[in-house]
């Protein structure tokens, strides 16, 4: 029995954005975020929106997937709108007034502006996880975090932990499935009752699962030690993700353009 396991939200298609090095994409996300915060007017937001739309098209990712993240933010967005649009006893002329509360014209514009900014940020940054595998992200993260080793952040070890976690997600999922089947055969029901009862039904699954995970961890530690693992120091890589000339060129030109647009508009 093979359970198809996909994690994160990676969309496996071939595109120029997918081919870009993970570190370059991380740099671009940072530049994009900065630019979106620098922008002061709707003209700037329009330019940023065009950039995101172009990136989505170039990445050949379904637009619906890129926009999916907005749904989770509905509350935050509504709150941003209301908080900006409604004023308490304003001195200026207001559109609608209910007691001391008033709906304010420039306030609505502010609300739309801030909400659009959040939407742009969410959609723009989601392109990173949509076009980069978790393994590439982990490797990229290690490289980006490397300067932090100077202040004692164990970048290599953190990346190794993430890699191992990724490696054991499918294994653990398969094992969980096996235990569910075994408990079902013993009469356990996972599909009835309210949320509390359903959650409780998973206790007999979680206990053996965790016991097994601890045993696994111990054997894995022995295996890693036997294969000369002694921390991230001095390790080489079979497939080092190297920033090529194209990656650097894209990172530098696009970041510069984004920041310049952010400052100008």
């Amino acid at each position: 029995m093979r359970i198809p396991v996909t994690f994160g939200q990676y969309v496996p298609v071939a595109s120029a954005v997918h081919a870009l090095d993970a570190k370059a994409k991380m740099g671009l996300v940072a530049a994009f975020t900065t630019a979106v915060f620098l922008v002061e007017g709707f003209a700037g937001l329009a330019v940023m929106s065009c950039f995101v739309a172009a990136a989505i098209a170039l990445a050949r990712v379904p637009a619906m997937l890129a926009l999916r993240g907005i749904k989770a933010l509905t509350f935050l967005l509504s709150f941003t709108m209301v908080a900006n649009a409604v004023r308490w006893e304003p001195a200026t002329v207001s559109l609608v007034r209910v007691g001391p509360l008033a709906l304010d014209g420039p306030g609505i514009l502010d609300g739309v502006f801030f909400a659009s900014r959040v939407v742009l940020l969410v959609v723009g940054t989601s392109l990173l996880t949509l076009t980069t595998t978790p393994v590439q992200l982990t490797d990229g993260l290690e490289r980006v975090m490397r300067p932090l080793r100077a202040i004692g952040v164990p970048a290599g070890e953190v990346a190794m932990m993430l890699t191992i976690a990724l490696r054991f997600i499918p294994t653990t999922a398969q094992e969980a499935e096996k235990i569910v089947v075994a408990q079902t055969a013993r009469g356990a029901r996972f599909d009835e009752g309210g949320p509390v009862r359903r959650a409780k039904a998973f206790v007999p699954v979680m206990v053996p699962l965790f016991v097994n995970l601890f045993r696994r961890a111990e054997e894995l530690a022995v295996a890693m030690e036997s294969r000369c693992y002694r921390g991230g120091e001095g390790r080489t890589r079979l497939n080092p993700a190297v920033m090529g000339a194209v990656d650097w060129a894209v990172l530098v030109t696009v970041s510069t353009a984004l920041i310049a647009a952010g400052i100008a508009l």
């Binding site: 054997e219 894995l220 295996a223 890693m224 036997s226 693992y229 390790r235 080489t236 079979l238 080092p240």
Partner: protein, 282 residues
């Protein structure tokens, strides 16, 4: 069944009067054991659960240090911190459950894990990975995710992971215990090829038929070496072997029965093929 000499300079793992007592244990897990492991030869370790087999395995690559006695790998003592990583690189270690030994998210990355830890340069990593995968017959599966492999393939991947360190010795703790028939014979075939290439193998198992072609057999019992010799010597007296807790292979029992019925099956016929040939000739 000794090495070229009992010299401690090179080409040998020597266990000399080794005892191990775990903290809080009443009796030692190993009690004055002396054994040597020679490149290009297979030493089979048999014995019931708790007889000290796994303890012995962990002594060979310094995962465990002896309470008394010495373990010397190619002239390097396992208690010497300075040569610890040289010893680990020279003695590969494979455990029973292949799943829990695989670190990489794809096959080739896992094989490269050991040499990556040693800081082997990238171009050499590639040839080590190719060699190791070739040696266990997994060439072509470089980009496969480990959870999509069969159990036998996973165990061969674990062996390849040890081989990528270019070890002189390979210690395997019940490597076939969790495998089906096909996976088991694939692993055994890979081990035979490695021996032919000069790797010294310690094969811990419950199944004598897995190691019937071993160069030497040691049976452990309650931490001591109860028998040391060749498989043929062990099976010369099947009753004695059984009292040591060794399960005599069915084919040997059959050969014995055939002999009693007057079929001339030679005493060194321990495989189905050789017994069948003897029957066919008679």
């Amino acid at each position: 069944m000794r090495g070229p000499s009992s010299s401690e300079e090179c080409g040998l793992i020597e266990l000399h009067e080794v005892s191990v007592t775990y903290p809080g244990a009443e009796r030692p897990a190993l009690d004055h054991v002396t054994l040597s492991i020679v490149p290009g030869r297979t030493l089979a370790l048999l014995g019931p659960n708790g007889s000290g087999k796994s303890t012995l395995a962990r002594l060979c690559n310094a995962l465990l240090l002896p309470t008394s006695g010495r373990v010397v790998v190619d002239g390097m003592s396992t208690v010497d911190e300075a040569t610890l990583w040289q010893i680990r690189a020279r003695v590969g270690f494979v455990q029973q459950n292949p799943e829990n030994q695989i670190v990489g998210t794809v096959v080739e990355e896992d094989v490269a894990f050991g040499p990556e830890n040693l800081g082997v340069p990238a171009h050499e990593l590639r040839s080590r990975v190719d060699d190791a995968l070739g040696a266990v017959g997994l060439t072509g599966l470089e980009r496969r995710e480990p959870h999509l492999l069969s159990e036998g393939q996973k165990q061969r991947l674990a062996i390849a992971g040890a081989l990528a360190l270019r070890p002189a010795y390979l210690v395997l703790d019940e490597p076939t215990a969790m495998l089906d028939g096909e996976g088991r014979s694939d692993v055994l075939a890979a081990l035979r090829r490695l021996r032919a290439h000069g790797v010294g193998i310690v094969h811990i198992t419950h199944h004598l038929e897995d190691v019937i072609d071993a160069d030497a057999v040691a049976v452990l019992d309650e931490g001591t070496v109860a028998f040391s010799g060749t498989p043929a010597e062990l099976l010369a007296d099947p009753q004695a072997a059984e009292t040591l807790g060794v399960e005599v292979p069915a084919i040997v029992v059959l050969a014995e029965a055939l002999r009693e019925h007057g079929v001339p099956v030679p005493r060194d016929a321990f495989t189905a093929e050789s017994v069948a040939e003897a029957v066919w000739r008679s």
